[in-house]
Amino acid sequence: MIGYVEKVLLKVFSKGFFKEHAGFLLFLFGVILSHIFWLKPLGGHLTHEQSIFFHLIMLISFASDPIMTILFTLACIIYSVKSWNYINKQLHSPSNQFLYYSISSQSYFTQFKNWWVVQAVISLPIIIIGFAAIAVGTSYGYFLLPCSILVLLIILIFTGAFIHTHRINAIIWSKSSKYYLGNLYNGTKPLFSLFIFHIIDQLKLPYALTKLISLLTFFAFTFFFHDLKNDPRIAEITSLLLASGNGYLIYKHRKFEEDKLPFLRNLPISKVKVYLNVILLYIIILLPELLLIYQITNPSKALILAICCLGISLLNYSALYLIKTVKSYTRYLFLLFFACFMLIMFGYFRVLLLACYTIPYFIYANKFYNYEPYPTND
């Protein structure tokens, strides 16, 4: 039976966490589930048992191969640290500060139990994968590594519950600035640089993860499609994937603009100038991806692909003037990816390129002064 306090905490923290990370989780689980259920090993020349084994090979490897177990452990730790940071950030939000003088009057044990439930619910994705790996691993005769996965999950959930209980009982400390970022540069901060400072201040981990995903995508594509490297569509799809991987950062950028820079619309700065600042910002944010694109193909083709990568990011940015919820944005990202994928596969790359530089500016120019801020916590 879940108590009232737990219900409130689950609503504020667990639901909020999943809402904010819906895109990333959907992508991750989409990849894993499609691997498990729709993988067709060796074109069907296997017995039923062998086929099941290969379907489950990813889960088995988590519970049998020490390197895969270490990778899974790392992923679980990153996920947990991210969730701890999220809860910490939410605890400092003014709208949640009532918790410091309400639930902290409960006994320490009750508070710990409540936070344990919150952390367990947030950890459901890694619990599901972990337990699936344990079940599959033990049924194939592996016991040591599945036990270590179980211990790991227990430690992570208990540590999270302990951290949150400790924090809610501590005095509220200053929300930011263990160090002053302004010291990095003392001159007038240009408009485009504000989000870069915001990344350094609050989005270091998401930025690093995005770039890691880009790097893995790049290596996976160059490795698996090495024999098709002369097909221009492979490089085009790689550039599409690299741009799509930055969807979360672009969402954060738009949210930053609306949450922290609403005064921008009162400043006498032309729309074109603001847009040029966005382009400059995206060139800097996408720099690692743009450099990777130069590794795929010759410089002149790479330049076009880099322009396309930037254009798709601008398309995502402008879409956020029309889309206001994470859920809709996630759906949009999948649809856009599918549409761009089809255009590339059918040889309409130039059409895509043209669309990426006309549609975004048209939407932006129409919506910049006409954007109705949406009353949401997303």
Binding site: K189, Q202, K260
Partner: protein, 210 residues
């Protein structure tokens, strides 16, 4: 000073404000109305932060929709509960606003001294109290060469010396530089030389003598 033409503002299907024609002559206006009556919405519309139907024209010349930049050079705004990026310092924001609003060099210095803000302009805003952020927001709204300054609940969270400084700024700016003001407040702004009051009621705005 400012003219409303067929102004309408609604949130979704809920109408908030409906002003067919309203012409405000030069002065310091006290905007009044109950909670949720649309005071902040009106000020944000005039500041050009939120969209609306109809038009707003400043000094019979600057159309908020057609001359967006020229209009915004002349209309400054301080929000009721200002929010700024936490990692920026007060100094950073003063530089940003001074550049954008084309403020004369060193214009902020006197304002900083009078509001006694010199000691905390360098740390990041994340470390400011709500009163400090409010003072900073008020200071930013006086930068440049505004013809109209909109102050949304300027007195909340301000300490007594800062309220005195603000009163002085408003009165002096109007008298010396002809700057007009619309300020919303639930308390009577005692030491400000108010011209008229604006009452929001049933989505309409009416002008009253003080």
């Amino acid at each position: 000073m400012i003219k409303f033409l067929d102004y309408q503002k609604s949130y979704g299907s809920n109408p908030v404000l409906d002003i067919e024609r309203l012409n405000l002559t030069s002065g310091i206006y006290w905007l009044r109305g109950e909670n949720g009556s649309g005071k902040s919405t009106l000020l944000k519309s005039i500041a050009g932060i939120i969209p609306f139907k109809g038009n707003i024209i400043l000094n019979d010349t600057y159309d908020i929709k057609r001359q967006a930049i020229s209009y915004r050079k002349l209309v400054n705004f301080s929000e009721a509960e200002p929010i700024f990026p936490e990692f920026l310092s007060g100094r950073d924001l003063i530089k940003l606003f001074s550049t954008a609003k084309n403020a004369p060099k060193g214009q902020h210095q006197e304002l900083v001294e009078e509001m006694e803000m010199g000691s905390y302009l360098h740390p990041p805003i994340g470390n400011y109290s709500s009163g400090m952020i409010k003072k900073l927001s008020l200071l930013l709204s006086f930068l440049g060469h505004p013809k109209l300054i909109l102050l949304d609940e300027p007195l909340i969270t301000l300490d007594a010396p800062s309220q005195l400084a603000l009163n002085k700024w408003v009165n002096q700016s109007h008298r010396k530089h002809g700057v007009d003001f619309i300020l919303s407040s639930h308390q009577t702004p005692d030491n400000i030389q108010l011209t008229k009051s604006l009452q929001i009621s049933s989505q309409a705005v009416t002008i009253h003598d003080i």
